[in-house]
Symmetry: C2
Subunit: 234 residues, 2 copies
């Protein structure tokens, strides 16, 4: 089956977690908005297409099934492409971790948009600076410390004891945080997360994808944004 | 099977979505921290219990399975207790909507904590006022308008065409917003969501639960908080 992925062009955003899974699996998919433009998503977002209207991208068409929400799409794809263990417990555990990653992604976004997504960063810079300080001092250690601790209970660089889509998402998290908060991340020590990040980057299909033009560079329209004022000084 | 639900005492919080499902289903469960105190959760949160360490409450023990994240727990419980349709599509759709509700709940929380969960509301009041204004003007209409629109495609007060746990969560959302933003909510018109809210409140087990001492009143430690400064004037 050829999947149809729908997500905003121009940013990695939440769509990237799904792209990494599809790429790593070697799955057949079209990144529809990249080929036809963002407008192709509008009939779906307005409920003019069959299936349950998504609240927002990303959404995926798999045959007649239309599903949305990053973590749900990953949960759907993973057992079909060997990206999670076969047991129900393994699938609940992976989803639980992915939902925790989703929570973290909201917090990452809100470092530069603490007041309103409808306002520019420049219009909420003072609040962004305060939120980012708390984020660097409290939230990064809390989330990454949690994943690092779980990795300590496993052999090898796999958070669930074998390669899963959660590892792909951890790669994306670490890469994005390195981009957005280079000073804070340079000072932090998460050797097991670094091992996951490196292992994932070296997987042949992921390495090829990252080197291709398909991988949109991180930029200041996305979720991970590099603003000097929001990182540690120096 | 007797489920064990773990959640902070003293607030409804995210645990309430699960309580409503368990109560509505007439399921056998213990609200463990209510009986033994919040400290009973610490060994789980520190990874000293079998199973995957949860990042935060709520979490649920179902036999030997330990799962966390509100939407995941509901997805697990629902097909076992008739709170979702039997088809895979129905279950993906319900989960998709519940994840959208989870996103909204984060935004509701952040109206009073836009800078940091580690700070008091009083220390972020100016930012809270700005975020709440945007929330009332843009985010409430966007989310509730979405659910209202979906309800318009169904007969009767069921967002997925039959009673599901998503309806229970919509009841909780509307009730919490009524508590936190009474002026803004009095002005808004969501007749189909109001019909869901009323239908759910009248379900016998839910009505009995809401009238019992088990239902913690909304309060200013929870997610839905009533601060005059954050609501519409008058």
């Amino acid at each position: 089956m050829r999947y149809e992925l729908y997500y905003w062009t121009g940013i990695q955003g939440r769509g990237e977690y799904i792209r990494l899974a599809l790429e790593d699996a070697g799955a057949d998919y079209i990144d529809v908005a990249r080929e036809k433009g963002d407008d192709v998503m509008m009939p779906f977002l307005r409920g003019k297409q069959p299936g349950l209207r998504p609240f927002a991208p990303p959404f995926l068409k798999a045959g007649r099934l239309l599903i949305a929400q990053t973590a749900e799409i990953l949960m759907y794809l993973a057992p079909r492409h060997g990206l999670v263990g076969a047991s129900e417990t393994a699938q609940w555990q992976a989803h639980q971790l992915q939902l925790t990653i989703s929570d973290f992604v909201v917090e990452i976004h809100d470092t530069h948009h603490p007041i309103a997504a409808s306002l520019y960063y420049e219009d909420q810079r003072a609040a962004a600076r305060k939120r980012s300080q708390d984020f660097r001092e409290n939230r990064i250690p809390k989330y990454l410390g949690y994943f690092e601790d779980l990795l300590g209970k496993q052999r090898g660089a796999h958070i669930l004891g074998r390669h899963t889509y959660v590892d792909l998402s951890l790669f994306q998290l670490m890469s994005g945080l390195d981009y957005a908060f280079p000073n804070a991340m340079r000072r932090s020590k998460y050797p097991r997360l670094r091992a996951v990040q490196q292992r994932v980057a070296e997987r042949p299909r992921i390495a090829a994808y990252l080197a291709s033009e398909q991988r949109v560079p991180f930029n200041e329209s996305g979720i991970f944004r590099h603003y000097l004022a929001l990182d540690d000084p120096r």
